[in-house]
C-alpha cells in the first residue's frame, strides 16, 4: 500500500518522533507492504538549521520539505489538502505527539477517510485494516476497523524507535516554501515560548513520583527538596497539578512525561493507567502505598504497604547518615 508519514519538525523532538514512525513501519511491514519506494514523508519545518539537519537524519527515501512560519494546524491542513488531492496515499502515518493527533483526525475528515488517534499497532485481516489503541483511560486495548480509505492515524506516545542509519541510500528531496503564507484570518497574534530543553524527567535515571496522597503543596515542596538531595528528578500525578501543588512540567503520564529511569520510586499514587503509562518503562518500580488494594502495588517490582512519609523520611536519613559517615 502506498503510505506517507507526516512529521512536525517545528517540534524540537522531531527526530525521536520520526524514529518512532520508522520503527513502526518496520514492525508493521507485513501490513503496509515491503516497497521501500513507498517510504515517503512530508516534513513541516520552520528553522533553517532543522531543515539542513533533517536531510541527513530522517529515515525516509522521499522527503517533501515544507517550510512554514510556525506550526499551525489550519495552515498545514490546507497545504496537505492541496498537495495530496491529486494522488492521495492509502495510509497516512502521523507522529505520536499533539500535532500528530490533531492533524490525523482533521486530515481524514477532509479526505473522507478514517482516523484513529494514538495507535500502538496495526493488523490486516483479509481486506480489513485494523488499528489497536488504548481505551477506557488505558484500562483496555481496543481494536478498531478503519471503514474508509485513506487510513489516517497518529502513533501512541513513546513507542520504540529505530535509530537512523545515516549512510542509508540516497534520498530524494523536494522543497516548498510557505513561510510567507499567513496561517489564517482568525489569528491576530502568535507567540511561542519554546521549550528550553527536553523534559529532564524523561532522561533521568532516578525519579521520585508522588501523587494526591501527599495531601498539600507544602508536602510536595518538602518532597521535592528530598528528591533533590537524593539526586532524583521529581514528578507528580495529575491531581497534584490540578491542585496547583506543582507545575505542569512535572506531570507524569499519558498526558505528561513518559519516563524510563533505572529506578522509579512511586509514593502515594494509586497507579491509575493514565499515570502508569508514564512510568511503565522504568526498569525498577518501587511503590509505597498504604492501601493494599492500590493498583500500583501489582504493577511494581518492590512494594511497601505503609505510610510513604515515614518511608521516605527514613530512607533520607539513612542515606544522609551514610554520606556523613
Amino acid at each position: 500500500m502506498k503510505y506517507k508519514a507526516i512529521i512536525n519538525a517545528c517540534s524540537p523532538a522531531y527526530k525521536a518522533r520520526s524514529e518512532e514512525i520508522a520503527y513502526f513501519i518496520k514492525a508493521n511491514r507485513s501490513v503496509i507492504g515491503n516497497a521501500y519506494e513507498a517510504d515517503e514523508a512530508v516534513v513541516f519545518y520552520n528553522d533553517e538549521h532543522t531543515g539542513a539537519e533533517i536531510e541527513s537524519c530522517l529515515p525516509f527515501k522521499t522527503i517533501s520539505m515544507v517550510k512554514i512560519k510556525h506550526y499551525q494546524p489550519e495552515l498545514i491542513l490546507n497545504i496537505l489538502e492541496e498537495s495530496e488531492c491529486d494522488s492521495p496515499a492509502e495510509i497516512y502515518i502521523f507522529s505520536g505527539d499533539l500535532a500528530g493527533n490533531e492533524l490525523a483526525a482533521r486530515f481524514a475528515w477532509r479526505f473522507n477517510g478514517s482516523s484513529l488517534v494514538a495507535v500502538e499497532n496495526i493488523t490486516k485481516e483479509e481486506d480489513l485494516f485494523i488499528g489497536r489503541k488504548k481505551v477506557y483511560s488505558g484500562n483496555l486495548h481496543g481494536s478498531f476497523l478503519f471503514r474508509k480509505k485513506p487510513y489516517c492515524f497518529s502513533l501512541a506516545r513513546g513507542l520504540k524507535r529505530l535509530e537512523t542509519d545515516m549512510d542509508a541510500e540516497k534520498k530524494y528531496l523536494t522543497f516548498h516554501d510557505y513561510s510567507s503564507t499567513a496561517p489564517g484570518a482568525y489569528l491576530d497574534n502568535y507567540m511561542e515560548s519554546p521549550k528550553e530543553e527536553e523534559n529532564k524527567l524523561e532522561s533521568a535515571s532516578f525519579v521520585i513520583a508522588t501523587g494526591r496522597g501527599t495531601g498539600s503543596s507544602k508536602e510536595i515542596s518538602r518532597l521535592q527538596n528530598i528528591a533533590r538531595e537524593l539526586g532524583a528528578e521529581f514528578g507528580v500525578s495529575r491531581p497534584v497539578v490540578m491542585n496547583a501543588w506543582a507545575p505542569l512540567d512535572r506531570l507524569i503520564g499519558a498526558s505528561g512525561a513518559v519516563i524510563g529511569p533505572e529506578v522509579c520510586l512511586a509514593l502515594a499514587v494509586s497507579g491509575s493507567p493514565p499515570f502508569y503509562y508514564g512510568i511503565e518503562k522504568s526498569k525498577i518500580i518501587i511503590a509505597v502505598n498504604r492501601d493494599e488494594h492500590a493498583p500500583i502495588l501489582k504493577a511494581a517490582d518492590i512494594v511497601i504497604i505503609d505510610d510513604y512519609k515515614i518511608v521516605i523520611d527514613t530512607l533520607f536519613k539513612l542515606l544522609r547518615d551514610e554520606k556523613g559517615a
Partner: protein, 278 residues
C-alpha cells in the same frame, strides 16, 4: 457597536469515574461495551477544566452587561441532569441535554455532528470550549471533528482563555513546541487539556436551591436534524474487540514490623549499593 454580548458554549461529557474500578471490573465478556452503568458519574476531567476556565473568563469582564452568556451542553442520559443543575447554580445562563440512545463511547463522529448541529441551531457562538479527550472513549477526536464540520479553527492543549481587546480572545495552550499564547478572532473551538488549577468550583447551597427551579433544555437528535441511522453509520471506525491490558510485575512485598523497618530493608537490600555508586 461593540456591546454585543459574547456567547460561549461548553460541551462536556458525563463519564463513569474509572479510577473507582478495580481489576476484576475490567474482565471482558462477550458483549463489547464494559458495564459501567453502576459506577459513580463525574464530569470528564478535561471538560471540568473547560467549564471552570469559562467561569474564570466571565469573571474578567467588569460590568454585568458585558459578561458573555455561558451555555453548557451535554449529549447523554438523565444522569447528566444533576451536573447541568450544578452548572446553573455556578452561573451558567442555560444548559441543554441532548437525549441520546446510541452508544456514543466510540463514536466521536456522532457526538461531533450533534454538537455542531446544536451550534448551528442555537448559535451563533463566539467560542466553543470542550475537552481534548474523554476518559471512557479515549477518542480524542470530537473537538477536532466539530471544528471540521463547522469549518472553524481549533486550538488544542488549551490551558486558559480570556477576553482581549476588540472582541478578540487571548488563548494559552501547550504545543509540541512549547507554550503558545495567541490572540484569535471568534469563532474558534478550544480543546482544553491539562490546565493547572482548574478544578470546578463548588456552588453555594443557596445557589443550588435557586438552580433547582430552573429548567434544563431537553432536546433530541431529531430535533437537531440528526438522524440516528446516519449518526451510527457515519462513524469512520468501528470497535471490533476489547482486551485487557496487563501491567502486572509480580513484585516483592517488603514485610516488617514498622514503616521504619520496611524502609531500612528497602535501603539495605535494594537501594544502598545503587544510590551510593551513582
Amino acid at each position: 457597536m461593540g456591546d454585543k454580548k459574547m456567547r460561549v458554549l461548553i460541551s462536556f461529557k458525563v463519564v463513569p469515574d474509572l479510577d473507582l474500578l478495580r481489576d476484576k471490573d475490567w474482565t471482558i465478556n462477550n458483549n463489547l461495551p464494559v458495564q459501567t452503568a453502576y459506577v459513580k458519574k463525574v464530569i470528564n476531567a478535561y471538560d471540568e477544566s473547560a467549564l471552570e476556565l469559562a467561569l474564570k473568563m466571565v469573571e474578567r469582564y467588569k460590568s454585568d452587561d458585558q459578561k458573555p452568556e455561558l451555555i453548557a451542553l451535554t449529549v447523554g442520559e438523565t444522569y447528566a441532569d444533576i451536573f447541568l443543575k450544578k452548572l446553573l447554580a455556578l452561573g451558567f445562563n442555560k444548559t441543554y441535554r441532548v437525549q441520546n440512545n446510541l452508544d456514543l463511547r466510540f463514536n466521536p463522529y456522532a457526538t461531533a455532528m450533534i454538537i455542531s448541529a446544536f451550534a448551528k441551531k442555537y448559535g451563533p457562538f463566539d467560542l466553543i470550549a470542550m475537552g481534548m479527550q474523554s476518559s471512557d472513549g479515549d477518542n480524542a477526536k470530537t473537538a477536532l471533528l466539530t471544528a471540521e464540520e463547522l469549518a472553524w479553527p481549533c486550538i488544542t492543549g488549551v490551558t486558559g482563555f480570556e477576553p482581549a481587546v476588540a472582541g478578540l480572545f487571548a488563548v494559552s495552550s501547550i504545543s509540541d513546541q512549547g507554550l503558545v499564547n495567541q490572540t484569535v478572532h471568534p469563532p474558534c473551538i478550544l480543546a482544553v487539556g491539562n490546565a493547572p488549577s482548574s478544578l470546578l468550583r463548588v456552588p453555594t447551597l443557596r445557589a443550588i436551591k435557586t438552580a433547582a427551579e430552573k429548567d434544563i433544555g431537553l432536546l433530541s437528535p431529531e430535533s437537531l436534524n440528526c438522524k440516528p441511522e446516519t449518526l451510527a453509520s457515519g462513524n469512520d471506525t468501528e470497535l471490533r474487540e476489547l482486551e485487557a491490558v496487563n501491567n502486572t510485575r509480580d513484585g516483592i512485598i517488603i514485610e516488617g514490623a514498622t514503616a521504619e523497618e520496611k524502609a531500612r530493608l528497602l535501603y539495605e537490600n535494594h537501594l544502598k549499593g545503587w544510590l551510593n555508586c551513582r
